[in-house]
């Protein structure tokens, strides 16, 4: 039981770094605890890598299948977390009043968004470690400059986060769930992840090359498979998507 004075006011916000760290930790726990999210972010990329890396289903051109596949699967992992997972989770947080409740807490909105981004990045690190280990086990031999790879992953994350948050902040939660999964599937097939882009008609290729998933998988493949330098064209595509997506999300996001 409580005694007199228990509730005596003593208000105050926790230090900002502590609030953001706590929020990021909670968001990450929510994500790792959610079965559907794990299916999307861990199980599907892992299975695709194992299946297409060990069985010759799609003609991936010269060289080992895994050298073609691993960069595409890494791009898919980024999309699954930053776009699909984040869109679905945020859509339901908005629906269940979580965003509304947090908006009246001492944590500022930009702090919440920072925490969400941190949670996405932590998840991506776990994904990259897991997928890299599997790829190595399948005989992967990556090349290239790690800085280019990092830049691609970060810009890809920014581009997909903007699009995911735009969707979560404007559509109903159920619509976000359906649309985010549909987009995931379409981009998985049409974005150069497991199916080489040159399998598509020439006209379609030009359009598909402008998709963020294509830019990310193609850029990663240029560097990791072919040892190319900074893939400027792909980075530029990702920058445009990131700027447009994040600006639109900032403009149109509705908190409840």
């Amino acid at each position: 039981m409580t005694t007199v004075g228990t509730f005596a006011p003593k208000p105050g916000a926790a230090p900002l770094p502590r609030m953001i760290a706590a929020q990021a930790a909670l968001e990450t726990r929510m994500l790792l605890r959610n079965g559907e999210q794990l299916l999307l972010t861990v199980v599907i990329p892992t299975l695709l890598l194992l299946l297409f890396g060990s069985v010759d289903i799609v003609d991936t051109g010269a060289g080992k299948a895994v050298d073609f596949l691993a960069p595409g699967i890494l791009a898919l992992a980024v999309m699954s977390t930053a776009f699909t997972g984040q869109a679905i989770a945020t859509g339901f947080e908005r629906r269940y009043g979580v965003l509304k409740r947090l908006a009246s807490s001492p944590l500022p909105r930009w702090g919440l968004m920072t925490a969400k981004t941190a949670s996405v990045l932590v998840t991506e690190v776990l994904q990259v470690v897991l997928l890299t280990v599997i790829a190595y086990a399948l005989g992967w031999s990556p090349h290239g400059d790690p800085l280019s790879v990092l830049l691609l992953l970060v810009l890809g994350t920014a581009a997909f986060s903007g699009l995911g948050l735009l969707m979560a902040g404007t559509l109903k939660a159920e619509a976000t769930l359906a649309a985010a999964n549909l987009v995931f599937l379409l981009l998985l097939v049409g974005g150069g992840v497991i199916v080489p882009l040159d399998k598509f008609p020439a006209g379609a290729q030009d359009v598909l090359a402008l998709l963020p998933i294509t830019a990310l998988s193609d850029g990663l493949r240029d560097v990791l498979q072919h040892g190319a330098g900074m893939p400027v064209g792909d980075l530029a595509v990702l920058v445009v998507w990131a700027v447009v997506g994040l600006a639109a999300a900032g403009r149109f996001f509705r908190w409840e």
């Binding site: 006011p9 003593k10 916000a13 926790a14 609030m19 706590a22 009043g97 509304k100 409740r101």
Partner: protein, 307 residues
């Protein structure tokens, strides 16, 4: 408990499209517990959510603890606690996990375990939010509103759908908050809740405050009270009326059943009994009917159903 107003609303107007939800509302709430009553759609939640900083006024001013809830939100938010009407928790989060998280956002939070025990949530700390019962979800939301040791707590229908035990527990908590100097603004549909808890009641209808005062003052002022007694049929009501204060009325409702309407107080009761003594009447079944807050509420807001 009167002092500086904790909430001050002046000429607040809030429209949603063509609909005017709040229409020039003035409200001042001091320290203690203020209950905001009103039919559905009266503008209660809109008013409270404007105070919480969720909505921008179309016109008028709102000050909470002396601050503008929108422009000075970052200064205000640590000082207030908010309980939403529903939701507010990650569906996959466990009850204690969410409460601990909100505690971590504050500099000097309450002890989470004590609070969990206090609100009877001990058994469900490990249960995920979506598996809690409605009443448990409400109590968790209440705990989240107070864990940061705020100066002012907003409770939006805190006992809606609770069983009687949980309702009592919530009432006790509100009383303890008040005793410890926390101000509370609560919206409710339950008149007994307002009567039990509130120092001050504001009744809102059609986007305006139609009455405000302590529950006692509202019950006294809103309508006159009734005294009834039974006796011999055919008593001289005219002579009784002469003995009563001028603004009273008296009548024989059915043979032997008498009703006096007026300012019912000890003097009036004494007048009636001494009149009976003078006339050799043994007044049977004397009863005083006090107007309840519900009578006042229905009188002010009408009896027709609201959407």
């Amino acid at each position: 408990m009167r002092s500086e107003p904790v909430v001050q609303v002046r000429s607040l107007v809030k429209r949603y499209g063509a609909k005017t939800a709040v229409d020039g509302l003035d409200l001042e709430a001091g320290a203690g517990v203020t209950a905001v009553l009103g039919p559905n759609g009266a503008g209660k939640t809109t008013t409270v959510e404007t105070c919480e900083g969720y909505r921008r006024p179309d016109s008028g001013t709102v000050r909470v603890l002396g601050l503008d809830p929108v422009r000075e939100a970052s200064a205000l938010r640590p000082r207030i606690g908010v309980m939403l009407q529903s939701g507010g928790v990650y569906s996959g989060a466990r009850a204690d996990e969410m409460l601990r998280h909100v505690a971590r956002l504050h500099a000097h939070p309450l002890d989470v375990d004590t609070l969990i025990e206090r609100l009877g949530l001990t058994g469900c700390g490990r249960t995920s939010y979506r598996r809690l019962s409605g009443g448990q979800q409400q109590r968790l939301a209440l705990a989240m509103a107070v864990v940061g040791r705020p100066e002012l707590v907003f409770l939006d229908e805190p006992t809606a759908g609770l069983d009687p035990q949980a309702r009592r527990a919530t009432w006790d908590l509100v009383r303890d908050l008040r005793a410890d100097g926390v101000s509370v603004i609560l919206t409710t549909h339950y008149m007994d809740e307002a009567e039990q808890l509130a120092d001050d009641v504001a009744i809102i209808d059609s986007g305006r405050v139609v009455a405000q005062g302590s529950p006692e003052a509202l019950c006294r002022g809103g309508a006159e009270n009734t005294l009834r007694f039974t006796g011999r049929p055919g008593l001289d009501v005219g002579s009784l009326l002469k003995a009563l204060p001028v603004d009273s009325s008296a009548g024989e409702v059915t043979p032997g059943a008498y009703r006096i309407v007026g300012k019912v107080n000890p003097q009036l009761l004494a007048t009636v009994t001494s009149w009976c003594a003078q006339h050799g009447v043994m007044p049977d079944r004397i009863s005083v009917e006090r107007h309840t807050l519900e009578d006042v509420f229905l009188e002010l807001t009408g009896k027709e159903l609201r959407s």
